[in-house]
């Protein structure tokens, strides 16, 4: 069996950033495993702009952003095996993978960075009544058909869910000549970025129907229409509001799910809210030497934040391999429900820690308050508005938690 210091699972933005950061922190024996035929992950099909404002101070398209990192990977001579699918990771960090040239092979790694990204929630989980015709795609699949393959999966379109990919595809399909009749969102607010609502829907006069869902699918061969309805406060469809929209295509943008099948084989404990690993400030999971970053850890709204997080994971993996450590603490982070989750979920080292979090609803005029187990408020900041679609962060100094065992993250709403 081959031995490699650091193996990075996934060559998307998270994997590439982690590899570059680890290399720059001194790791020379490392390898990226990527199942696709190119590095870049999902960015390859995100041909719209809006990437890189934080990271590079300029607006890039997805492929441009990916290319910047690909170039950094190449400059450093970091090896990547493409078309290689990882089948298993053991808790002892033995990685089993397959490709056409080498067949099934195993690598014993000292450290592993999990960077497998996420997948879209499929239609099944929604249990929509009706027929099962062609013409129903996740927004990302439609994006692949249009942007990568050059084919049109639909002409008359309804979109269910206002996640960012759905919003982006509303615009893309419109630009390609399709008619997008409506974007239906079950919740009373959109899960997407405010800028995407403006630039992808409002600019094209595409109606966003909040508190609406698709209740029935019609058509025996190709989709012929959907019935939508308004939902009540318990998200149950109101029968009197049923409305039939003829269409040949239904795109779904109803949530992203971190792809943690491999994390499970490695026995990495997962957070039930994020569906990603439970990690500390270094993005180390509860399995020693296994790190996680990017959308496999929790779903990010900007790739820039993915890179930032992957830097942490890559540098930390390097420290782990080099046997570096800092003063230890053991602080568990908790949330009040209005704050849905935090990443990291625990703090183990005495150093500056940025905690990322998402909220459960749209709240205005709130105070983000962090309290320790002795009741001391260690952080407090007013915000005019927070929303589930936008990730928030709080940076804590070591003094804030040096003597704490627990920190509670809460929103005070006026």
């Amino acid at each position: 069996m081959k031995h490699i210091d650091l193996v990075i699972i996934g060559g998307g933005p998270a994997g590439m950033s982690a590899a570059v950061a680890a290399y720059d922190a001194g790791v020379r024996d490392l390898l990226i495993l990527e199942r696709d035929s190119h590095l870049g992950g999902i960015l390859q099909q995100c041909i719209h702009n809006g990437f890189g404002l934080h990271r590079f101070g300029e607006e890039l398209t997805g492929p441009e952003y990916a290319y910047r990192y690909e170039a950094m990977v190449e400059e450093r001579g970091i090896p990547a095996k493409l078309n290689t699918m990882v089948l298993d990771i053991s808790p002892e960090k033995v990685i089993t993978a397959t490709n056409t040239e080498e067949g099934v092979f195993q690598i014993q790694a000292k450290a592993v960075v999990l960077a497998m990204g996420c997948r879209e929630r499929a239609k099944g989980a929604l249990n929509i009544a009706g027929t099962r015709p062609s013409g129903i795609y996740s927004a990302g699949t439609a994006q692949k058909f249009v942007n990568m393959k050059g084919y049109m999966p639909g002409k008359e379109v309804v979109i269910l869910g206002s996640g960012d990919i759905g919003l982006i595809m509303a615009r893309r399909m419109t630009l390609e000549g399709a008619k997008v009749h409506a974007v239906c969102e079950l919740m009373p607010y959109s899960g997407g970025l405010a800028r995407n609502i403006e630039q992808c829907l409002h600019d094209f006069n595409i109606p966003l129907k909040l508190s609406h869902t698709v209740v029935e699918i019609h058509g025996r061969e190709r989709l012929t229409g959907v019935t939508i309805a308004k939902v009540d406060e318990n998200r149950r469809p109101i029968p009197e509001t049923r409305e039939y929209i003829p269409c040949d295509t239904l795109l779904l943008s109803v949530g992203l799910i971190p792809e943690n099948e491999l994390s499970k084989t490695a026995k990495v404990p997962l957070d039930r809210v994020t569906n990603g690993a439970v990690v500390d400030q270094d993005r180390q999971t509860a399995v020693n030497g296994v790190f996680a970053c990017g959308n496999v850890l929790h779903v990010h709204d900007l790739v820039d934040y993915v890179s930032e997080e992957a830097d942490i994971a890559g540098r930390s993996a390097a420290d782990y391999i080099n046997g570096l450590s800092a003063d230890a603490v053991n602080v568990a982070l908790h949330t009040d429900g209005k704050v849905r989750y935090t990443v990291p979920q625990r703090i183990t080292k005495k150093k500056d820690v940025t905690v990322f979090f998402r909220v459960s609803d749209v709240f205005r005029n709130v105070t983000v308050k962090v309290t320790d187990n002795a009741g001391n408020v260690v952080y407090s900041r007013k915000k005019p508005k927070v929303a589930p679609g936008e990730m928030e962060s709080v940076t804590l100094k070591p003094e804030a938690f040096a003597n704490a065992t627990d920190l509670n993250f809460a929103l005070e709403v006026q």
Partner: protein
């Protein structure tokens, strides 16, 4: 001129074709759909019933017990997954308990082996996740599970490998009899045959009527199901039925041979033979009752919901007869049709022989079909062996179910050849996992287009107008 024309490529038609393919006969299977196994065969409970359900003396009872006994060998020969997981009928009341006693006695009369009545404790010991409210059960150790369309692909593939022909997209619109032979008009084809077997499922009454037999009719009974992710697949190991009552047979919960959990079906008589839509009421009922039977089912882990239409005959029993020389009806094959299919095929062969068809063994008949080797089920050594032979087995196309390019190409090239996305899905499981083809369907469209030598946009989900793409971008502007 064929010796036998079989109308309908479901599990019944498929098993009949496979049985007859052992003899020196020219056989043609005629199917109106774009693929085989698309009717009731595509959507049912996937159970090989033990045989305690049907009233003693009926064809259903006789053929079920015999069919379930034949099934292991059939599956072994055809390389089809079969699991003898046993079944449980659970009861919640004294009334249920009395019904279970009746079922037990009926099963014994039908010749079902190994039946036993269980106490609440014994039930819990067998299946810890059964509802705490269940007080009694009937255990049938011979109950098994099989994938109905996998069995049908294998049966028809095996028949084809032994010389049978398959006509798809060929809806039968006329059957005429003249000079001791039948002429079947089927789509673009005109088929002449000495014998016709009517295994047309929901449309068996219409086919029979074409030769003047109006002695029965068939109506559709809707059954809605919910299929759950493999993470739910080990919740129960037995097939769990509810004690039948005046309200019907109730919702079952069963593992599948592929490791998922299947719940359903509802049972609603409808009139439209093409209406395979699910309903809010049906979905709600499946969720509610499945949850009452087994604890811990999380419907957030739904892979898909679907609806099957059972072909319910007007006589209450299977309708298998020989109303005129050269014509055999195999109709009203509702539950336990899948379980009975091997025995039905043998029974039909006997009917045909009695009606003058010479059954002479083919010396080169091969009862075996090469199983589709599932990469995910191989050991590391096996994987490397198959990749060394064909590197395409090293490329994973479907991530969720770990299906390789090699398996997909093998399926596309093996009888009966798939011609659409669903055909590939049902043969290989690619697109059948958690993401439902989100990642891999664009690749599979490409593979189908290349292998079938058709344009990318001509690839469909399941034939007809079920196109996946409308054409190139910019061209549709």
């Amino acid at each position: 001129m064929y010796d036998v024309a079989i109308i309908g490529a479901g599990v019944v038609g498929g098993m009949i074709a496979r049985t007859l393919a052992a003899y020196r006969l020219n056989i043609v299977i005629i199917e109106k759909a774009h693929d085989v196994a698309t009717g009731a065969t595509a959507a049912n409970s996937a159970i090989v019933h033990a045989g305690f359900d049907a009233k003693e003396g009926t064809l259903k009872a006789k053929l079920n017990v015999r069919g379930s006994e034949m099934m292991p060998l059939v599956c072994e020969e055809l390389g089809v997954k079969y699991r003898n997981n046993g079944s449980l009928v659970i009861g919640f009341s004294d009334e249920d308990k009395a019904t279970l006693q009746t079922l037990y006695e009926r099963g014994v009369k039908n010749g079902v082996r190994g039946l036993e009545l269980l106490s609440a404790e014994a039930l819990r010991a067998l299946e810890p996740n059964i509802s705490k409210n269940a007080t009694c059960a009937l255990h049938a150790p011979t109950g098994s599970i099989v994938c109905p369309y996998e069995l049908t692909f294998a049966a028809i593939g095996n028949a084809m490998d032994n010389g049978a022909e398959l006509l798809l997209d060929s809806e039968v619109t006329a059957v005429t009899a003249e000079n001791g032979r039948y002429t079947v008009t089927a789509g673009a084809h005109t088929v002449e045959a000495r014998y016709v077997v009517n295994a047309a499922g929901l449309y068996a009454d219409a086919i029979a009527a074409m030769v003047g037999d109006t002695s029965f009719n068939i109506h559709p009974r809707r059954g809605e199901y919910i299929l759950l992710d493999k993470e739910m697949g080990a919740l129960v190991s037995h097939t769990v039925f509810r004690t039948p009552s005046k309200m019907g047979k109730g919702i079952l919960v069963s593992p599948t041979v592929d490791g998922n959990l299947l719940t359903g079906p509802t049972s609603v008589d409808i009139s439209d033979k093409e209406d395979k839509s699910t309903t809010p009421e049906g979905i709600a009922r499946v969720m509610k009752e499945a949850g009452e039977n087994v604890e811990g089912i999380r419907f957030g882990a739904t892979i898909t919901g679907f609806c099957g239409l059972r072909a319910v005959g007007s006589t209450g029993d299977f309708i298998i007869n020989n109303p005129r020389h050269g014509f055999v009806n195999v109709a009203g094959i509702e539950s336990p049709g899948l379980s009975s299919a091997p025995a039905i095929a043998a029974y039909v062969a006997d009917l045909l022989a009695a009606d003058g068809l010479a059954l002479e063994k083919k010396p080169d008949y091969n009862p075996r079909r090469e199983a589709l080797h599932a990469f995910r089920e191989m050991s590391m050594e096996e994987k490397n062996k198959v990749i060394a032979k064909d590197p395409a087995y090293g490329r994973v196309i479907c991530r969720c179910e770990t299906v390789t390019e090699g398996e997909i190409l093998h399926a596309i090239r093996q009888n009966p050849k798939p011609r659409d996305l669903d055909g590939v899905k049902r043969r290989t499981r690619a697109q059948m996992g958690r993401c439902q083809g989100g990642f891999c369907s664009p690749y599979i469209v490409e593979m189908l287009a290349k292998e079938l030598n058709i344009p990318y946009e001509a690839v469909t989900k399941f034939g007809g107008k079920s196109v996946v793409n409308f054409g190139k971008t910019k061209e549709t502007l």
